[in-house]
Amino acid sequence: DAETFKIGLSNGWVGSEWRTQMIEEAETAAKAWAEKGVDIEVVVQSANVDAQGQIGQIRNFINQGVDAIIVNPNSPTAFSPIFAQAKARGILVIATDAEVSSKDAIYVGIDQKGWAVQSAKWLAETLGGKGNVVTINGVAGHPANEMRVAGYREVFAEFPDIKVLNEANANWDQAQGQQAMQNLIATYPDIQGVWVQDGMAAGAWRAIMAAGKKDEIAATGEIRKDFLTVWNDEKLNSGASINPPGVMASALNVAVLKLQGKEFKDGIFGGVYGNAIYIPIPFVSNENLGERLDETEGKPGYWSVTATVSPKEAAAYFQ
């Protein structure tokens, strides 16, 4: 007879389509397990909450008696006590998208620092190792943001001729990214490179194009269909690390295997807190843009190019 697992998905921010896609893909991945004879009941909590509110979400999962909890956490450190309580009840806890410090949880997702390193490297190399660069970041103090900042700083430090003129914060808001870019262009007439995160890249590029500088500036991009289309049509000089919304689905696939009783391979964990399984970070470049755009055929404009660690690929993490 069929195995049955109950998995709770916790999301603490509903302000972006990326998060919606993340949950949808996880739900789809859960359904796909039925073919393998595994029944997975997914329970979702998704709302705008702060870290404490999200702890409340996790408490509800614990009180309901789920088998595993997958969480896109609002804080890297605040969940340690609640994860300890979950583990004490025999619940498997997996964080995704942002690493957590808890030793009672594992992380399945991309290396945010590596994500930044990859695109910063692209930028530095595109600029031929020298030039004036500005960066536009997300929310100051947010863990993912801080890791990414550390990543690009490390890369640019290796190139003595790359000068970081300014680092702005635009709170992961596309319009604010556009405004920030406008101001930066006005203040620094001689910018060659822009390193900008996520959806803010679309805004930054809009400002670059409005200033008539799209041929002089190379800037990182993002992964929504809308932007890829512009990138393609306007022949932008861009490159984008992919943080796939499929991360939660990947985490779910790992979770099911673990719930089925498999054991992780030795030495598989790494990361900042030694509890992370990093999944591959695909890259969109001027070269493979066409293929990536083909993938988005028939999808809505806000759809992000994605990737998921399939159950078969996930099995490689286990003994």
Partner: protein, 332 residues
């Protein structure tokens, strides 16, 4: 005709008036604008360049148009405030994006759809406040959550579309005298707002209701209707801003308007409109919106840690408040 009297004013009273004038919110906001431009130009040459100022004005126009609705709600008093305006903008943007979907011919429909839906939502706000008598702060806060939730439901499976090219041109490209169309639209809105507030019975009623709703009712003004209408107008202006925002950003996303919620209130307040209602006006709000956008961009151009920028931002706000946002002294 008025020259005779004006000329007879003594020089001393002109100085006194000048000093009085400087305490006016509008004068202060303008002074703040000039000071910030000077500081910006000093710190990073090019900050006060014409095209840069024009782009800042474009951003200020988005804020200013949204703040017009907020201004009406706050003027009408009764603790009037519209915290749902950010969500209205997001909703307006998503609706407009879906309706026009990159198609110039559908711009009018998009504006109509976005403003009429947000008008209706604003109407619900107004009815909640006047008929059910929920305090505006919590009514609109609740509505904000409802709209955000509604957007999550709504955006499901429906492609959120793109701005039409002409709309984007209207906002981002120079049209006349090197200024983009949106600035003319904002100027027109400013004229309409000032006319409505100063010269029409409706504007008069807004002030009267804000000053003393009971007295307003006793002279026969339909207090509830006007207050409801003011919320509905705020919704519609939010929706209109949403249409413009999608023209600015090119495509819509569900949190596109969130960042406008508190700035609209700040623009209104540093523009000299009292949160208690009944006093203030729109010119101040225009200056307030410009000052606020200017401050934000000045901070971006400063090479500072994020906390340093926040510190300066908060400190400047308090400074502006200290200059003229003070409440009446109890002891004269």
């Amino acid at each position: 005709m008025a020259n005779a009297t004006a000329n007879s004013t003594s020089s001393q009273s002109i100085a006194a008036r000048l000093l009085d004038g400087l305490r006016e919110p509008l004068a202060l906001a303008i002074m703040a604008i000039v000071v910030m431009l000077a500081v910006g130009e000093l710190l990073s040459p090019g900050f006060a360049r014409g095209d840069q100022i024009m782009r800042l004005l474009t951003v200020a126009a988005l804020l200013g148009i949204a703040a017009a609705g907020q201004n009406l709600v706050i003027l009408a008093g009764g603790e009037g405030i519209d915290l749902s305006i950010g969500a209205m903008i997001s909703f307006g943007a998503v609706i407009a994006g879906n309706v026009m979907n990159g198609n110039d011919a559908a711009i009018a429909q998009a504006i109509f759809a976005a403003t009429s839906v947000t008008f209706l939502i604003g109407l619900v706000n107004g009815i909640g406040v006047t008929v059910v008598r929920i305090p505006p702060l919590v009514m609109t806060l609740g509505m904000m959550t409802v709209i955000q939730g509604g957007l999550v439901v709504f955006s499901q499976g429906i492609p959120s579309g793109n701005a039409a090219p002409s709309l984007m041109q209207f906002i981002n490209q120079p049209a006349l005298f090197g200024l983009p169309g949106i600035l003319f639209a904002w100027a027109a809105l400013t004229v309409v707002m000032i006319f409505v507030l100063r010269r029409t019975a409706f504007g008069f009623a807004i002030y009267a209701i804000g000053a003393n709703p009971r007295a307003a009712r006793l002279v026969g003004l339909p207090v509830g209707v006007i207050r409801t209408l003011v919320f509905a107008l705020s919704g519609a202006l939010g929706g209109l801003t949403g249409v413009l925002v999608i023209g600015y950003t090119g495509n819509s996303f569900i949190s596109v308007g969130d960042q406008y919620m508190l700035p609209t209130i700040i623009a209104v307040v540093i523009g000299g409109t009292s949160l208690a209602g009944g006093t203030g006006g729109y010119i101040g709000t225009v200056a307030g919106a410009i000052a606020l956008v200017l401050l934000q961009s000045l901070l971006i151009t400063l090479h500072l840690e994020s906390w340093g920028r926040q510190l300066i931002f908060g400190g400047t706000l308090l400074l502006l408040l200290t200059l003229y946002g003070r409440q009446r002294a109890l002891r004269a």
